[in-house]
């Protein structure tokens, strides 16, 4: 399964990644972060196909996707 990492120090909670994810594998968190932002969180992470769209659209370089090794 692909794993999504969100850097809570860099993320400013614009939620563009939630909007742009083609598989809807992210959602807005119900909690508010230490800096006062509503951060995204993985939602049905098994839906993530590792396309990397969230990495391209992120304005703050705060999200990363670890792609599952297909050979394993």
């Amino acid at each position: 399964m692909n794993r999504i990492f969100i850097n809570t120090d860099y993320c400013k909670g614009c939620l563009i990644c939630v909007e742009c994810c083609p598989k809807k594998a992210l959602k807005a968190s119900s909690a508010i972060s230490a800096k006062g932002y509503t951060l995204p969180e993985p939602h049905n992470p098994e839906k993530c196909n590792g396309c990397g769209m969230c990495e391209i659209v992120c304005p703050d370089f705060a999200i990363a996707v670890e792609k599952e090794d297909k050979a394993v």
Binding site: N7, K12, L15, I16, C20, E55, I56, V57, P59, I63
Partner: protein, 273 residues
Amino acid sequence: MLKHPMLKYLKEEGPYGPRLPLILCPGCGAGQVLNFTLHAVDSIIEEGGAKKEDFVFISGVGCSSRLTSHYLNFDSAWTIHGRSLAIATGALLANPGLNIVVFTGDGDAAAIGGNHFIHAFRRNINVTVICMNNGLYGMTGGQVAPTTLSQAITSTTPYGNIEDAFDLCRLAQTSGASYVARWTTAHPLKATKAIKKAIGKKGASFIEILSQCPVHKKETPVDMIRALKAMTVPIKKAEGSDKIPVGEFCDTPRPEWTEKYETIIEKCTARRS
């Protein structure tokens, strides 16, 4: 924890402590354009098209121009307002082999740097100009700019803008640019592809990326990205539409300025000897 793949090109730590997160407001389009550019530059470096040392990033003043020397782990210069293209010309004359990328905002390119803008394209110097057009002066408080759309509300046009906006792509094209394209932050893959193509072109290339300023427009970034997608139309279907055309405006190679300059130098040195 896995980090964003483009963080390898950014300076996370500086002499006075951490430099990231970026200074930009949440959801700013300028951060997205930096991300697109780094993806394009990364794929060029991975394919062996150029080395990291060959790239120089130059910017003027404005929100979008904060992106160069403070954050980028490339050779870069954060220069004076509107004159980034003049400094890029100087850098190119000193070393014609460089891949120069100029980050500029709409105020920097079209307002204070308007003359540098048109003459850089007239000369067809080998630079890639990436203009982040959010349609207002973001850093100074969201005032009306030459690129503000007609009827748009800004802090100095509370009843709607009565002027028409500058079409920067048409301006660059008629001034003589070799490659001109316009995309928005709602078209990340196409914008990245256009930036990659523009860097590979010899001559002046211009990429305008319509972006969002959620703070001064008082909308959420997601709503603004949806609006950008809705207000644009591909250039082939733009005939008769009142929407903003996006796509490739021109791809017409012309002799490049430093090459012509080299031939003059060769001619004069041959005559002397």
